[in-house]
Every structure is written in C-alpha cells, then in structure tokens.
Amino acid sequence: MIYLWAFVIGGAICIIGQICFDVIKLTPAHTMSLLVVLGAVLDGVGLYEPLIKFAGAGATVPITSFGNALVHGALEELQKDGWIGVITGIFKVTSAGISAAIIFSFFAALLVRPKG
C-alpha cells in the first residue's frame, strides 16, 4: 500500500511544481526554492512528518523533503543545545543529499565530456 501512496503523493508534488512552471510561469530555480521553503514550513508546523509516515518515499524523495530535513536537524539540536542548535544542526540531516550531490557531480565533471 505504501507503494501506491508513494507514487500518488510524489506525483502530486511534481504536479504542484509543473503548475508553478506552466501557470504561474516561475523559473525552475524559483519553483525549487518555493518547494523547499514549503517543506520547511510544513515541518515547522508538524505536518511533514505525518506525510512521510503516510507516503514514505513519496514525501522523502521530492525536494520538499530537503526543507523538511533542514528544519528537522535544526529542531533536534535546538532541543539538545538550546538556541545555538538552530545554527549547528541545520545541515545535520541533509548531509547525505548535499555531499552526495557535490561529490558525484564533481567526479562526473572530471570524467565526462559535455554532450550537445
């Protein structure tokens, strides 16, 4: 069942992105930034976590989960270390995404010639 909801919710978040492209005519950078902020706000009010429980990868794979993970790291450290935790914790959970993207992209750029 989680596979069905992963597909539906993940697809639905992509539709929101497509509407930002086509109807509101935002650039990809604006759209992605908007979705990340949306994810951060949803986690801030405690709604993103239930969505992950419900839809699994449908909620963790779209870029909104990046905003969610940033807030998650910040709040975790906030509880442990007080206000400074907001700064020290922001990238705690997102390390996987950012470091993987930087490392793999860097080596791809060394190995691959541009196409077209």
């Binding site: 596979y3 992963a6 597909f7 993940g10 697809g11 978040i13 992509c14 539709i15 992105g17 497509q18 509407i19 492209f21 086509d22 109807v23 950078a29 604006h30 759209t31 992605m32 930034s33 979705l35 990340v36 951060a40 706000v41 986690d43 801030g44 993103y48 992950i52 990868a57 963790t60 794979v61 779209p62 870029i63 989960s65 990046f66 940033l70 807030v71 998650h72 790291g73 910040a74 709040l75 906030l78 509880q79 206000w83 907001v86 914790g89 990238f91 390390s95 996987a96 995404g97 950012i98 993987a100 993207a101 930087i102 793999f104 992209s105 791809a108 750029a109 060394l110 010639r113 541009p114």
Partner: protein, 161 residues
Amino acid sequence: MSNNKKKKLTPVQQEYKELSDKREPARPVLKNCVRAFLVGGTICLIGQAITDMFVRWGGFDREKAANPTVAVLILLSVILTSLGIYDKIAQWAGAGTAVPVTGFANSMASEAIESRSEGIVLGVGGKMFTLAGPVIVFGTVAAFVVGILHFIFNPNGAGGH
C-alpha cells in the same frame, strides 16, 4: 506580468511584450501535469523500493533509511546525467524529473559537466550551484526562521517530530 514591471518598459517595449505574450503558444498544462505526475511518481516508487532494500538488508529503521536512499538516487541521477539520458527524460517529463532530489542532482551535475571548460575551480566548483545555490540558501534561511520561531514560542516542546 505585474503593472510594476510594465511601468519600467518603454511604450515600444510594452507593445512588443503584449505581442509576444499573445503569440506565445499556450502551454499544454494538463498534458504536462499528467507527464509530471507519472514520471515523478515513478521516481518516488523507485525511491520507496530502495528504502525498503535498506530497511531489509541494511539494518536501517524506516526513518533513517531516507538518507541513504537519497544518496543512491543522487548517484543514479548523476550517472544518467553523465550519459545524457536524464535530460532526455526531463524534456518529456518537465517537473516530474525536476522536483524529486534527482532533479537537484541533475542540475548540479549538468552544470558541473558543462562548465568544465571554464576550469575546475571557477567552472566546476563555481557553476555547480547555479540552480542548487538558491535552493540551499532559501531552504537554510527558512529552516533558520522556523527554528527560531520554535525557540521563541515552544522552547521545550517537541514540535516537528
């Protein structure tokens, strides 16, 4: 187009803008949304399968498995980008390939590969973040604001968990 932006243009430019707006082909919104839904949903489906693999064989619990899943998806995305396949799918799928984290990785990898000729430091290192930069900046600022709001209104609460 907002009036504010219109005011800054000369009359001739305004005329041109109106003409170009009129002549711009209408975007097939519904078709694009269906494609975005199908491809985006499929990527999430693949993500769910990878998550389950990490849970079953990697000893991760369900919540922790999201991180390695993202890393694997990013690796796949960078490989497909390197082979020129991701951009072909992206032309068909629109936001369906842009919104998942694979799109984030695709933007970084393709910028890095294309900017290789401008040098490793300024090209690869600098241009990599053309699209990813705004995402990281606004995500971080938003997370900071949310964190501070939690600190002010709910310092001991467990919000967000």
